[in-house]
Symmetry: C2
Subunit: 348 residues, 2 copies
C-alpha cells in the first residue's frame, strides 16, 4: 500500500481553492498516478502545469469520474449535489469542499486533527467543513479533550478571498477609488447572489453569505452546526457573528470559550497548543507577538495567540485564532483528508 | 439660567478630537460667551474659525484657565494630569477626554444617557470614557435597565482615527504601497509608543494601546473597568478583545450579553432601542439592513443591528454596535456632558 498511487480528479480546478488544491497535492507529495482537472464548460480548455506535465482542464460530466479513485470537489454546492453521486457510483471517494453535504448525517464532516475516525463511516462522500469552522475547531479541540467545553462564542474577521476572486478584485478596486475620491460601485460583497452590495474597502460588513430565517447568516449557522457535528457534542453551546473585512487572505477569530473542568490557565493552554498538530503558538504580549492575517497568508498552520483567562470567570478563556482560509480553511484540509483516507486504507 | 452663556476653553484644539469639539459646540449651539483654544507650544499660533470669529490657538499654561467656566481637555493623559488641577483651582469644570482620571473614584465617568446623575458628585473633573466603551454602554444600558445584565463579551473592530491623524495617514499610505507592490514601513500602529509596528492596511491587528501585565491591552482593560464603573455594577462580568482594522473612522463591536430576567427577545430589544436616546436601530436582515462603519462616519448616533437571541441560551443575545469614534466616542459625548452640567445647574 505504501507504494500505491491514485487516480485523482479535481472539480473546480480553475478556482482559487482548486488552484491551491493542485499546489498542495504537489507540495505534500500526494501519491498520484493520474490527475484529471475538471471545471465548468466555460473554463474547460485551460492549460495548467502539474509537476512536469501540462494538463488540459476538461468539462466535468458524469463520465469524467470513470476510473477516478479520489475526487476533490470545490465548484459550488449545486454542482456537488449533481456530480458527487455520479462520482461515487463510479467508485470514487468524493471530498467535497462545498456546504452541500456537510450536515447530511450520512456524510462525515472531517478535520483530520479533530475527528479523523469519522472517515470510517463514509458512504462515498466526505465533507470538508467551512473555512472559519476548520481553524477554530482544530485550535480548540486539544483544549476541549483535556478540559471539556461548555460554551463557545466567536466573532470573526474574515478575508475577502473566501468570497472568490471577484471579491478580491472588488476590494482593491474600491480601495483605489476611495483614495482617488472616485465613486464606488459595489457589486460583489457581502454576497454576490444577494440583493444589496456594500463598500468593503475601509469598512467591516457584518454579513457573510445570505441571511437565514432566524436572523443569523448561513455562515454563522455553518459555524454553529458544523462545530457541534465535528466535535460530536450537541450540548456544546456555540454562537457566531461573522464579519467580512478588507483583508485579502487570512481569517482571524476572536473566540471566547468556557471549559468544564477547573485547573486550566494560560500557561496550560500554551503547553497544550504547542504540542497540537497543525497549530503554531504565537503568544508573547511582552514582545507584541500574536497572529496576524497578513502573516498567515500562504502558510499551512493555524496560529493562536492573545490567550487570556477571563478576569471574572475562571472557566472562561479568550483566544485569537488566525489561518489562511484557502489552505487549512479549504485546500489543505481536503488534501489532509485524502492522506487520512490513504493511511486508514479507505482509498481503494 | 436659560440665557446664561459660558466661558469655554478647549485644550488640544488642533487635534482630531479637538476639531470635532469645536464643530460640535457650534453645531449643537452650546451657549458660549467666549471660546479659548489651547494647545501645545508647537501648535500655538494657528488660526481656527469659530462662528464668525477667527481665533488664535494659544499655548496652554496654568494661567490660561483664569475666568474659564468649562474646559474640554483632549491633549493626552500627562497634560491632563498637569493642567486639570490648575484649571479646577481657577474655578473651571474640566471634562477630560483622556484616560488620566477615568478610574479615579473621586471623578465621575459619564455617558449622559447612562449615568448623568453621577455628575452631581464631581470635584471639578469629569472624565469622558474611552470611545469603544461609550457606544457600547449607551446601547446596552436601556436593555440592562429592564432585564438586568450578568455578562458581556465584546470583540471590537476599531478604526485607525482612534490612534490619531498619523495612523490615518499610515493606513492610506500603506494601502497605496501594497497595491503598488512597494515595501511598507510601519511606524505608527498598533501603538505609536510601542516597540514594534505592524501592517494595518489589508490586515487586522489584535492590539490597541500597549499591553498590561495581565496579558490584556490597556484598551481592553479600559473597556472592562469603565463599563463596570459607568453601569455601577462591579459584579457585572465584562470581557473585551480589541482589534484595530483598516477603517478610517467608525468603531464596530460584536457584543454578546447575558441578561438576568427571562422574557427578553429580539422584538423586545428592538422596541427598547427604538426609544433609546442617541441610538438608531438599523436591523432588518430581510433587507440586509445593519450598521456599517463607513455609514456611521460623521453621524452623532449609535447604530445597532444584527440583534439575535442566542440559539443555545435564551438569556443570551448578540448585537452589532457601530458609532463614529470621534463624535459619540469623544467630542460629542464631552459636549453632551457640558449640556448636562448646564441642565443640572452645575456650570457656574
Amino acid at each position: 500500500m505504501a507504494n500505491q498511487t491514485f487516480n485523482v480528479a479535481i472539480l473546480g480546478a480553475t478556482g482559487a481553492v482548486g488552484e491551491q488544491m493542485i499546489n498542495t497535492l504537489d507540495r505534500l507529495d500526494f501519491p498520484i498516478n493520474s490527475l484529471k482537472l475538471l471545471s465548468s464548460k466555460r473554463s474547460a480548455g485551460k492549460k495548467i502545469k502539474f509537476r512536469n506535465e501540462e494538463l488540459t482542464v476538461e468539462e466535468a460530466k458524469p463520465e469524467s469520474f470513470e476510473g477516478v479513485q479520489l475526487a476533490l470537489f470545490s465548484a459550488g454546492g449545486s454542482i456537488s449535489k449533481a456530480l458527487a453521486p455520479e462520482a461515487v457510483k463510479r467508485g470514487a471517494i468524493v471530498v467535497d469542499n462545498t456546504s452541500a453535504f456537510r450536515m447530511d448525517e450520512n456524510v462525515p464532516l472531517v478535520v483530520p486533527e479533530v475527528n479523523e475516525h469519522a472517515l470510517k463511516d463514509h458512504n462515498g462522500v466526505i465533507a470538508n467543513p467551512n473555512c472559519s469552522t476548520i481553524q477554530m475547531v482544530a485550535a480548540l479541540e486539544p483544549i476541549r479533550r483535556e478540559f471539556g467545553m461548555k460554551k463557545l462564542v466567536v466573532s470573526t474577521y474574515q478575508a475577502v478571498s473566501g468570497a472568490g476572486a471577484d471579491a478580491i478584485d472588488e476590494m482593491y478596486e474600491q480601495s483605489r477609488q476611495i483614495m482617488n475620491e472616485e465613486e464606488i460601485n459595489p457589486q460583489v460583497l457581502p454576497a454576490s447572489g444577494d440583493k444589496k452590495h456594500y463598500q468593503i474597502a475601509f469598512n467591516a460588513i457584518p454579513q457573510i453569505d445570505v441571511f437565514t430565517e432566524n436572523g443569523y447568516t448561513f455562515e454563522e449557522m455553518k459555524m454553529i452546526n458544523e462545530t457541534k457535528k465535528i466535535m460530536e457534542d450537541e450540548s456544546l453551546k456555540v454562537a457566531a457573528t461573522c464579519v467580512r473585512l478588507p483583508v485579502e487572505t487570512g481569517h482571524s477569530e476572536s473566540v471566547y470559550i468556557e471549559v468544564e473542568k477547573e485547573g486550566l490557565n494560560v500557561e496550560k493552554i500554551r503547553e497544550i497548543l504547542s504540542e497540537a498538530p497543525g497549530v503554531t503558538l504565537q503568544d508573547d504580549p511582552s514582545q507584541q507577538i500574536y497572529p496576524l492575517a497578513a502573516d498567515a497568508k500562504g502558510k499551512d498552520d493555524i496560529f493562536v495567540g492573545r490567550i487570556r483567562q477571563d478576569l471574572d470567570d475562571k472557566l472562561g478563556f479568550h483566544l485569537w485564532i488566525v489561518s489562511d482560509n484557502l489552505l487549512k480553511g479549504a485546500a489543505l484540509n481536503s488534501v489532509q483528508i485524502a492522506f487520512s483516507l490513504q493511511k486508514l486504507g479507505l482509498l481503494k
